[in-house]
């Protein structure tokens, strides 16, 4: 008996990182790792489910920067080179681990990279979006977009031109890439501010995902708690995040990925083995870095990690899915006791890269999840937001400023470590709007310069840079990126003011930061 409607949402996003000016650029590995460990394995799971007649259904968002990178020929070529090296290392690891307990894990890695290479070359001819589009057409996937460069939109609410540009470009890039408009939008970090729904409506977005506290603190008491979407003025639907479902995977103490038998993310041969052995597989680096070859299990709060056993981990995956579904049914019973009529809607949004990249067994977990859900005895029906909207009479209300980060607002993106960014990004928007006013209809070199200026403004606004600066990972790179885009924009602005554009420099810049090639700078026209 159906007792739960479940909406699984995977948000796939990476910032635009592409450096043709270097033969090898390490930060491009962010994309390559996500391709190898999440996106390609996920597509293989989808194909296997389809072959086996499993009726899976989920929502995926692809940010426009990720979409641009996945369709970029330079990055596709570089990923092929990365895959070749990974496969070569996998072969050497098979030899190195021969006769040891780690050999079984080495075989898993060899199989992973071999499949990746074959799929990337032969099945998708370098463009994996074809794979996701296929499953969209088949009705398994509802694919949506996100803001153009994943800007944290509430911080730009005083600059409506940014909100408009981020969402208009998102809609356009999505339609070009996936052949149909995006009906929903993933707001970066689920960050909402009152009034945003007007721009969402302009671009025909019918829904977005909101934090749990935004829904539970809605102006009018939410009659179905966190188990139904709410309609905002103008009709855009806000889907709440179900905290119990998401915490089951994310909780630091109780989340499944923390199970001792799963593979440890941090222990990597890149930090353990002889550097001479690893050197050929770390091009562009004089230092050690993670290779993706990891042979230890989470184990527990100790540095004495035990060896990873792939078979043991796989059997734990099935148990965890059973446990997850059992808990959803139990939750549904409690929700019914609290007075919600009919099957409640549980919305579980996750970063896609959680599955496979960080939680190695995560993709297998999804495979097992879809297979077990297909058994009607489990009482869980998979839904996508447009189905829910069509079938519901939504409660009308208003939401307050909110995000899904701990704390609930903009704490991570605006603090003493990263607030210097905003003086410059705000000024860049103002100047971009001014440029559109001064050059409303130009052609040729000026038009190219203005389009590139708009790209640089957008790239400087990525929420990834302040987050990286705040979290202290690759701080130098993030700072550099903000400064570089602001400096590039400023140079174009000043060149246009003095009518002295360096064409060679502009051409180089266009080739380097080539995100959104169809962008029209007039997207930054004044809005008030």
């Amino acid at each position: 008996m159906r007792c739960v409607d479940f909406a699984l949402v995977l948000n796939a996003h990476l910032p635009f990182v592409r450096h043709p000016e270097y033969p090898v650029f390490l930060e491009e590995r962010w994309l390559f790792e996500a391709l190898s460990e999440t996106y390609l394995p996920l597509l293989r799971v989808f194909h296997k489910l389809e072959e086996d007649g499993v009726p899976f259904r989920l929502t995926m968002s692809f940010s426009p920067t990720l979409t641009s990178m996945l369709t970029d020929s330079l990055l596709q070529d570089r990923y092929r080179q990365y895959l070749d090296l990974q496969l070569e290392l996998a072969e050497r690891e098979l030899v190195r681990t021969e006769g040891t307990p780690s050999h079984k894990t080495a075989k898993v890695y060899r199989q992973l990279h071999k499949h990746n290479l074959g799929d990337f070359h032969e099945v998708y001819q370098g463009n994996i979006l074809r794979g996701f589009s296929y499953f969209q057409k088949k009705g398994h996937l509802e694919i949506i977009t996100s803001a153009a460069t994943h800007a944290f939109l509430p911080l730009y609410q005083n600059h409506p031109e940014t909100i408009e540009a981020q969402l208009q470009i998102a809609a356009e890039v999505h339609t070009r890439a996936f052949g149909r408009p995006s009906r929903g939008v993933w707001l970066p970090e689920c960050a909402y501010f009152p009034g945003l729904e007007r721009t969402l409506r302009t671009h025909k977005f019918e829904y977005f995902f909101a934090s749990a506290h935004a829904i539970l603190n809605a102006k009018d008491f939410p009659r179905a708690g966190a188990f139904a979407p709410l309609a905002l003025p103008g009709g855009v639907a806000a889907f709440p995040r179900d905290m119990e479902s998401t915490n089951a995977l994310w909780s630091p103490d109780r989340g499944y990925p923390a199970d001792p038998v799963y593979r440890d993310f941090y222990r990597d041969i890149g930090f353990d083995l002889d550097l001479d052995y690893l050197k050929p597989y770390m091009p562009g680096s004089d230092d050690r870095l993670a290779t993706g070859f990891k042979y230890h299990a989470v184990t527990g709060p100790t540095d004495q990690k035990v060896l990873y056993d792939p078979d043991r981990a796989q059997s734990r995956v099935k148990e965890h899915v059973q446990n997850f579904l059992y808990n959803r049914r139990q939750h549904a019973a409690r929700i019914a006791e609290a007075g919600v009529a009919g099957p409640p809607l549980l919305v579980a949004p996750f970063d896609a890269e959680l599955f496979g990249h960080w939680w190695f067994e995560g993709v297998s977990w999804l495979d097992s999840f879809f297979r077990q859900v297909a058994d009607p005895a489990n009482g869980v029906e998979l839904v996508v937001p447009t189905q829910v909207i069509a079938a519901s009479d939504l409660q009308q209300t208003e939401l307050a400023f909110s995000s899904w980060a701990a704390g609930g607002y903009a704490e991570a993106w605006l603090d003493g470590s990263n607030d210097w960014i905003y003086r410059h990004t705000f000024k860049a928007v103002e100047r971009m709007v001014e440029l559109v006013g001064r050059f409303p209809d130009v052609q040729g070199r000026k038009q190219r310069a203005l389009n590139q200026a708009a790209r640089e403004v957008l790239l400087s606004q990525a929420s990834d840079w302040p987050l990286i600066i705040k979290s202290g990972t690759t701080v130098g790179y993030a700072q550099r990126r903000v400064k570089e885009h602001i400096a590039n924009f400023t140079r174009i602005y000043e060149s246009l003011s003095s009518n002295t554009m360096d064409t060679e420099w502009l051409t180089t810049l266009e080739k380097r930061n080539n995100v959104f090639p169809d962008l029209d700078y007039r997207v930054f026209q004044r809005r008030n």
Binding site: Y22, F25, L26, R29, W30, A34, P154, L155, N158, E189, P194, S211, A212, H213, L216, N217, F221, A226, D242, E244, N247, W250, S251, P252, P257, Y266, F271, S285, D287, D303, I335, A338, G339, D351, E353, W358, A400, F401, A406, G407, G408, Y409, E411, L414, D415, G416, Y422, R423, F426, L467, I468, S471, T473, T474, G476, R480, K483, E484, A487, N488
Partner: protein
């Protein structure tokens, strides 16, 4: 890197590793001491990496984790120079959370230099204007003096649900001149960290919020303790003048 692995390495490699870890090893350091120092550094790194585990932001950070310790390519270290100032008269108000907003301001240098030469010049002031709704008369306002050379600060928004804008003024002995005005923003309405603390709820509503996970939701976790030292820059100069006036 394990103890066994380190013990199997020649002294020259241990020294090389120590230099890489910025340990600046003393010439008289024994092999055992070198290994101990390296293990300590690796353990510290490991702990740092492990604290990154879990939760939304931590997951996002792991996308960038594999390269976190690497140096930038040589030519990438020549940072572009950001404009030091935009030679503009402006003031921006950016909402951070229900209680705090970031204020950014700037005054044209030539203008400021001219004013500072005048004997009656008393400095720059931010005037915080409070409104019940947009496009209504100002309910009240509070001045905040600006220290010389400052260009940003965090501002406490005292009344939830009210609207605020800022004016940047130059003060003279007998007059105040408006330099720039910010957009008007609304401080979000007063909302409880745990939605179950909403006033006037019925027992049935409390039960519904309970099963909705209100105790787990984003605002109920990891809230900073209070305004002291929060956000980080507040420490530079406090809000006492503002708070005194507000009272």
């Amino acid at each position: 890197m394990t103890r066994d692995r380190l013990e199997g390495l020649p002294l020259s490699v241990l020294l090389e590793l120590s230099v890489k870890e910025d340990l600046d090893p003393d010439e008289g350091l024994s092999r055992e001491e070198l290994i101990e120092d390296l293990l300590e550094v690796y353990e510290e790194d490991r702990r740092e990496r492990e604290t990154l585990q879990n939760l939304i932001l931590k997951i996002e950070q792991t996308k960038f984790a594999s390269l976190s310790a690497r140096p930038s390519p040589e030519s990438f270290t020549q940072e572009p120079v950001l404009p030091g100032a935009y030679d503009d008269d402006s003031v921006d108000l950016v909402l951070r959370d229900p209680s705090w907003a970031l204020v950014l301001w700037e005054v044209r240098k030539k203008e400021l230099d001219g004013w500072t030469q005048e004997p009656s010049f008393r400095g720059l002031t931010l005037r915080v204007l409070e409104f019940a709704a947009p496009d209504t008369a100002c309910l009240t306002f509070f001045p905040i003096p600006i220290p010389q050379g400052a260009g940003s600060r965090y501002l406490h928004l005292p009344t939830p649900g009210r609207w605020y804008s800022l004016e940047l003024h130059v003060q003279f002995d007998r007059e105040s001149r408006l330099i720039a005005r910010s957009a008007t923003i609304q401080a979000p309405p007063e909302l409880p960290d745990d939605p179950k603390d909403r006033p006037g709820l019925t027992p049935a509503q409390v039960k519904l919020l309970d099963v909705s996970g209100s105790a787990l939701c984003e605002t109920a976790r990891a809230r900073p303790a209070g305004p002291k030292g929060y956000p980080q820059r507040i420490g530079a100069w406090d809000d006492s003048s503002f708070q005194d006036l507000a009272e």
